[in-house]
């Protein structure tokens, strides 16, 4: 928000011989001002409950109550049961597949919207993307079970052509991944669009002038420059899918179970301590992943700004 601030900071901090005037101090502080509301909101209403969640995972589950006596048994229980690890691994690859496919589906769409649609139509079209999502999740997914189901549109179409409905069309992993793509498409599309919208298309000119085909120009020049948007889209798709339980429940059948279902089973019976332990383990894994890939979260530094 401040034009001179980023410059002023190294200048102020860089030389100890230079005394900080109150103005400079104010300036240095003011750049963090934007955090204030978020800090208030998160500090009070997220971090505190978050601490409670962590505490839950170390407290004792007694019937339907969580009792505040410290224990490691929740974690021990998880580590002594191989099903959680194997389900988590399965979930990881399903999530990765769904995320990759979602982005693959959304990118050409966002590209089309940002590149070929005249500016005045972009927002209405974007709005149309999200509009179906104002209808309850449950209804939309149920609607898919009807479409994909044994007497649904697809199997009828197939039988018209004389094909039998493949058994994985519903109540299996492909169905879960398919519906997840549907559910998370708008998140990817909106995020990618927001990023592409400011892309300087003449960059593609320069790349193609230097001998890059359109696709190479897109890969080498456009994609790296919209990387923050891609990273964000991946976060918005990958992370919520990792915790999905409704879709696998509704369309996955017994073959499409994800880790979220196992966690949700605990919650259904109010087993919050155990549930919290599993959930936190996943959070830790994701955080480790994020820390590993944190460089890709920081694009500004790459550009030398």
């Amino acid at each position: 928000m401040s034009a001179v601030a980023p410059e002023a900071v190294p200048a102020v901090g860089g030389s100890s011989s230079h005394r900080r005037s109150p103005r400079e101090l104010l300036l240095a502080v003011s750049q963090y001002l934007g955090f204030a509301p978020a800090m208030a909101l998160f500090g009070l209403f997220f971090l505190a409950p978050m601490g409670l969640i962590v505490a839950y995972s170390f407290w004792t589950q007694d019937g339907y109550n969580v009792v505040s006596t410290w224990t490691l048994s929740n974690y021990q229980q998880i580590f002594s049961t191989p099903v959680y690890v194997s389900t988590f691994l399965t979930t990881l690859w399903m999530t990765a597949a769904a995320t990759a496919l979602t982005l693959a589906v959304a990118l050409p769409f966002a590209y089309w919207l940002a590149r070929y649609v005249s500016r005045r139509w972009q927002r209405p079209l974007l709005f149309l993307v999200i509009l179906p999502f104002w209808v309850s999740y449950l209804l939309r997914v149920t609607s898919w079970t009807i479409i994909l189901g044994s007497q649904g549109a697809i199997s009828r179409l197939l039988s018209l052509v004389g094909l039998s409905t493949p058994s994985w069309l519903l109540y299996d992993r492909p169905a879960v991944i398919f519906v997840l793509i549907y559910l998370y498409f708008p998140f990817a599309a909106l995020t990618l669009y927001a990023s592409l919208e400011r892309f300087d298309w003449s960059q593609l000119h320069a790349a193609m002038d230097l001998g890059a085909t359109q696709s190479r120009a897109i890969r080498r020049i456009m994609l790296p420059q919209i990387k923050p948007g891609i990273t964000t889209a991946v976060i918005f798709v990958f992370i919520p899918i990792l915790g999905e339980y409704l879709t696998p429940e509704l369309v996955g059948g017994t073959r499409g179970v994800m880790i979220g279902n196992l966690i949700d089973n605990f919650f259904q019976e109010a087993q919050y301590a155990t549930g919290a332990a599993v959930a936190l383990l996943i959070v830790v894994v994701v955080m480790v992943l994020l820390v590993i890939f944190r460089r890709s979260l920081e694009v500004g530094e790459m550009y030398g700004r």
Partner: protein, 368 residues
């Protein structure tokens, strides 16, 4: 029919195929006509300059060669082949963009090496060529910086290096030296000319700097409002401008409204005889004479000939420029004098102006 075709085909086979040929090309942006009609041929190995005022369509013309703007009408040929729909990466043409269009996420050396990477040049080769190109533009010390960390002129030099390193068949340069200081510009002008001669590459060079155009180009096309007004060598254009626009755009010029009377040229206002080449126009017209062709001598009020008052003298380094108010011309006439020779001339003095007959150029009314 067949013979006619063959007859027309033959001369084509004999004269060399031009590197670039525009025939009847027009470009519109919505309702706005950026290029009205373009018919030019640029020969292989030529150093060709597009010169013209801001907004006249130079960049648009270059973009049509590079493949970044589709011609609305007409045909564009590169080495005889129609390229109206050929994508940029299939044209052996490289461009230095007016806005540089550097890749912000790549370092200077990666920017320069991009074309080589696309052409699958081996890493070691590429590194060598990149370094060479950066040396040429005196930026080898900046190889690892990002474009945002460079000054305006440095960015422009990166753009030049990025195009040059690919050794293209045709190199398009859109004001590539615009933000460089005179010294560096001169050096790069010389370097570019040398490279052009060595490699034999065809250069199409856009500039708004007539001095640059004259110093470097084999031929110059002077554009105005989407049309080419004159194509020719620097000398032709300077000494025999085809229109009043060309005359005024290239170099300084003085215009005096005249009439042809009895085969002689006289001023339109007071009917004073002026030195002029033969063939005075029948009706009204304009006489153009360059500032350096005019000689000044101190004069009295009633002297015959063209007399004016010096309103301003400005020292411009190698010469001094006098502005002379004269009732025969609308604008003050300007005269450049060798700094050493301006002894007698002072501001506010009366002077008589004269020039050799063949130094003047006459325009009829049709050349506005």
């Amino acid at each position: 029919m067949v013979t006619a075709e063959m007859a027309s085909a033959r001369p084509g086979a004999e004269t060399p195929i031009p590197a670039i040929a525009f025939s009847g090309v027009r470009k519109e942006y919505g309702a706005h006509v950026a290029v009205e009609r373009l018919d030019i041929e640029i020969q292989e190995g030529e150093f060709f300059c597009l010169l013209g005022p801001s907004g006249c369509g130079k960049t648009t013309t270059l973009n049509m060669i590079g493949g970044f703007a589709a011609a609305t009408q007409g045909e564009i040929r590169i080495r005889g082949e129609i390229v109206n729909t050929t994508p940029p990466y299939k044209r052996k043409v490289n461009t230095v963009f007016q806005s540089y269009a550097l890749f912000p996420h790549l370092t200077v050396s990666d920017n320069v090496g991009f074309g080589l990477k696309m052409a699958k040049v081996s890493r070691a080769d590429a590194a060598g060529r990149v370094l060479e190109a950066l040396k040429l533009v005196a930026l080898d010390a900046f190889a690892d910086r990002y474009p945002a960390q460079l000054s305006g002129g440095q960015q422009q030099r990166v753009a030049v290096a990025r195009a040059l390193v690919n050794r293209p068949a045709v190199l398009l340069l859109d004001e590539p030296l615009g933000s460089l200081d005179l010294k560096l510009r001169k050096r790069l002008q010389v370097e570019l000319s040398q490279i052009q001669r060595e490699v034999g590459t065809t250069f199409v060079f856009v500039t708004h700097d007539q001095g640059e155009a004259m110093a470097m180009a084999d031929r110059i096309a002077v554009m105005n409002e989407g049309r080419v007004e004159q194509v020719g060598t620097a000398r032709e254009i300077y000494s025999r401008p085809a229109s009043r626009f060309v005359a005024s755009f290239i170099g300084e010029s003085n215009f005096i409204p005249i009439q042809g009377r009895d085969g002689q040229v006289v001023t339109a206002h007071a009917g004073i005889r002026l030195p002029a080449p033969g063939g005075a126009p029948a009706g009204n017209g304009t006489l153009m004479v360059r500032p350096e062709a005019v000689r000044l001598v101190p004069a009295g009020t009633d002297d015959p000939g063209l007399v004016g008052r010096v309103v301003k003298l400005s020292f411009l380094g190698s010469f001094t420029r006098a502005s002379i108010a004269c009732p025969e011309a609308e604008d003050p006439l300007i005269v450049d004098m060798s700094t050493e020779l301006n002894a007698g001339i002072r501001e506010d003095a009366l002077v008589r102006l004269s020039w050799e007959d063949k130094a003047a150029v006459l325009f009829g009314e049709e050349n506005h």
